[in-house]
């Protein structure tokens, strides 16, 4: 109803291969990004940045990484939290052990380390799949949880076991206020999202999808499963690792291994499921949903309780959160296995024909 692609003819390969072939889509996205860069810093207050926007940006980046692996390559992982931890601790070690290490370089090196470890833990995917692979990735989760807790070298022998980083500085730009942090995360997220979008449109993404859909057939048409799977693990771990480094450096400031526990892994997996497996857009939807829902419930349930004359304690709210999460997961798997992203596109499809569907 709002717009259609009628009359937009593609007359060159360049226009045919654009990321957003429809003119209005392109401009909407650009406007959205511009708004995120200019409008949001003017409108949002500190609480909004700290509680919602910065976690949203970082966890969308992580969800993006998980989605590349789970949604595009079909390799289920329950160890994403561990790779966030690896990214964070590797970046921390690079930052404090190398003099004058720029922040961005530390973040990227954290991601690279995570990618290397991802390749190692991706090796079982060559032998097993599905449930067994999920267990293999759980092994990564438990091992690294333990390693960052017990091996003192990783935490620079800090007595409390928690590490902290201060004085963030990108090429002379001091990252101190929430707005700065927000903008830094936003820049990184935009770059990585663009990277991911292009990757899944390109040769490598198509290889991943072929492996996901049917690995034997993919092998027959000349895709090397080993290369495809391990590259998916590497790229995914890289994304997740950078997100983990950002989470530690920018969002938390100082952190312990518990920040990247198995609950984080499940949370990321849920984001991907609820948002939509195999959809870049879905990662954002999922992250937004999972971050906003608990905050919403925290406000809404006590209010609802006060309406009927009950006082709902914080513990009860967190239990309800569990229940609602669980129910939603099941609901989405049954009703819309492709998640919010599919709802979005069906909605758009419906709107195209509305109000005259025939």
């Amino acid at each position: 109803m709002i717009y259609r692609e009628n009359g937009q003819f593609k007359t060159s390969y360049k226009t045919d291969q654009q990321i957003f072939p429809i003119f209005q889509d392109r401009w909407t996205i650009l406007a959205l990004i511009a708004f995120a860069f200019v409008g949001v810093p003017m409108l949002a207050d500190e609480y909004l940045f700290k509680a919602i926007l910065i976690p949203f940006l970082i966890l969308s980046l992580a969800a993006l990484g998980v989605n590349l692996l789970v949604g595009y390559c079909g390799q289920i992982t329950l160890g994403a939290g561990a790779f966030m931890a690896i990214g964070a601790y590797a970046a921390y070690n690079f930052a404090i052990r190398v003099d004058g290490m720029p922040l961005i370089a530390a973040l990227l090196l954290g991601g690279c380390t995570s990618a290397l470890v991802g390749i190692v833990f991706g090796v079982p995917s060559l032998r097993v799949r599905g449930l067994y692979l999920a267990i293999a990735t759980l092994a990564a989760q438990f091992f690294w949880d333990w390693a960052f807790l017990r091996i003192k070298w990783f935490t620079n022998h800090s007595p409390s076991g928690s590490v902290s980083i201060s004085n963030l500085d990108v090429f002379g730009w001091r990252i101190s206020t929430p707005v700065d942090k927000y903008l830094l995360c936003l820049v990184i997220l935009v770059v990585f999202a663009l990277l991911a979008k292009n990757m899944v449109r390109g040769a490598i993404g198509r290889q991943w999808m072929a492996i996901r859909d049917m690995d034997v057939a993919a092998e027959v048409i000349g895709i090397r499963p080993m290369y495809a799977k391990l590259s998916a693990f590497a790229v995914s771990s890289f994304f997740v690792g950078v997100a983990g480094a950002l989470w530690g450096f920018v969002h938390l400031g100082s952190w312990e291994p518990a920040a990247f526990s198995i609950d984080r892994s499940f949370q990321l997996l849920f984001m991907v499921i609820i948002g939509g497996l195999g959809s870049i857009m879905g990662s954002f939807f999922g992250a937004a949903f999972i971050i906003v829902l608990p905050i919403f419930l925290n406000q809404f349930l006590p209010w609802l309780g006060s309406l009927v004359g009950l006082s709902i304690s914080v513990a009860t709210v967190s239990h309800f959160e569990f229940m609602i999460f669980g129910a939603l997961i099941v609901f989405f798997l049954i009703v819309e296995p492709h998640g919010l992203a599919r709802l979005w596109s069906t909605g758009k499809e419906k709107l195209r024909l509305w109000p005259f569907p025939h």
């Binding site: 079982p124 092994a139 091992f143 017990r150 690995d215 499963p225 239990h319 999460f325 997961i329 099941v330």
Partner: protein, 309 residues
């Protein structure tokens, strides 16, 4: 030597307890191809129900006898677990027939979250006690053979006995009853079973009920050992490597796997742990299972998976 044997026996008994949880996984996987991540949540839920009802019932009925209270609580908890099994089949599994394994796995994750939340909402989230009269005092054994004898925890011993009895009962149920035969048929081939008139939905309800009962027993034993609290749900995570090691489809595998993991964990913790900083039993089992996966993906006793990856 005595110390080694003590560790070994402690490991074997801990392993029996892992097997109890692992059994729940195997039963459901065999019959419906669902890898039930919610088994831990079911253990927690059942244990919570058992603990709270045995606490409430004396007040409701005015009976002070703890035995009667425990028996009634057991019956109620079992009934609740059966209801849960039925609801899961009705509301979740029925709608997810023919989906991929990974989808079902994630669905059971959702169920797990739901049950953890529900259990704590209804029954509360403190630490509760289950007292079914298991003796807690350790005993000395074989004092004539070793100097100082072997120190054995009686509670562990009884728990292992109960687990063994449960396994025997399950084996009988599977091998000798009509329903058990139907269950095995469904496990072998869904379509063939359906074509000779075995009602799939009912079989699934039954198998989830059995898994619920196993969860209840596991919950009672673990609960009386550790106290009923949220961390009970993570017992399932400890039992996962057991299933991998033993094979997803094999009941004896769950037992043997449990024993191996139990012994491996204890021995590695005692002899390897001090070298690397301790606390390694959490991941040691996983690493063992992971290495095992690389060489024998179907586990010790599992059916050979005939597909290429």
């Amino acid at each position: 030597m005595a110390f080694f044997l003590e560790t070994l026996i402690g490991g074997l008994m801990a392993g029996m307890l892992y097997s109890l949880v692992a059994l729940g996984f195997v039963l459901i996987f065999k019959a419906s191809g669902v890898f039930n991540f919610a088994q831990g949540a079911m253990v927690l839920f059942a244990a919570l129900a058992m603990a709270r009802f045995s606490e409430w019932i004396p007040g409701w009925l005015g009976v002070a006898n703890p035995v009667i209270a425990n028996i009634l609580a057991f019956i109620i908890a079992a009934a609740i677990m059966f209801a849960v099994a039925w609801l899961i089949e009705r509301l979740v599994l029925r709608h997810l027939v023919n989906q991929e394994g990974a989808t079902l796995l994630m669905a059971t994750l959702g169920i797990a979250y739901f049950m953890e939340g529900l259990g704590q909402t209804i029954f509360g989230s403190d630490i509760y006690k289950i007292d079914v009269g298991m003796p807690k005092d350790p005993v000395m054994m074989l004092e004539s053979v070793f100097e100082g004898g072997l120190l054995i925890n009686k509670e562990d011993f009884y728990a292992a006995l109960i687990a063994a009895a449960l396994v025997a009962a399950l084996a009988l149920f599977f091998q000798k009853t009509g329903t058990g035969r139907a269950l095995r048929a469904v496990a072998d081939d869904h379509q063939a079973a359906q074509s000779i008139g075995i009602p799939l939905n009912r079989i699934w309800v039954i198998v989830w009920c059995v898994a619920g009962a196993v969860a209840l027993v596991a919950g009672i034993i673990w609960g009386s050992k550790l106290g009923v609290q949220f961390s009970l749900a993570t017992v399932a995570l400890r039992a996962l490597p057991v299933v991998i090691l033993g094979g997803l489809t094999s009941v004896p595998g769950a037992i043997v796997g449990g024993l191996i993991i139990g012994v491996g964990e204890k021995l590695s913790e005692v002899y390897l742990g001090p070298l690397v900083g301790g606390g390694i039993e959490i991941w040691f089992a996983y690493m063992l299972a992971l290495v095992f996966l690389l060489f024998r993906p179907q586990g010790l006793f599992g059916e050979k998976i005939i597909d290429r990856v």
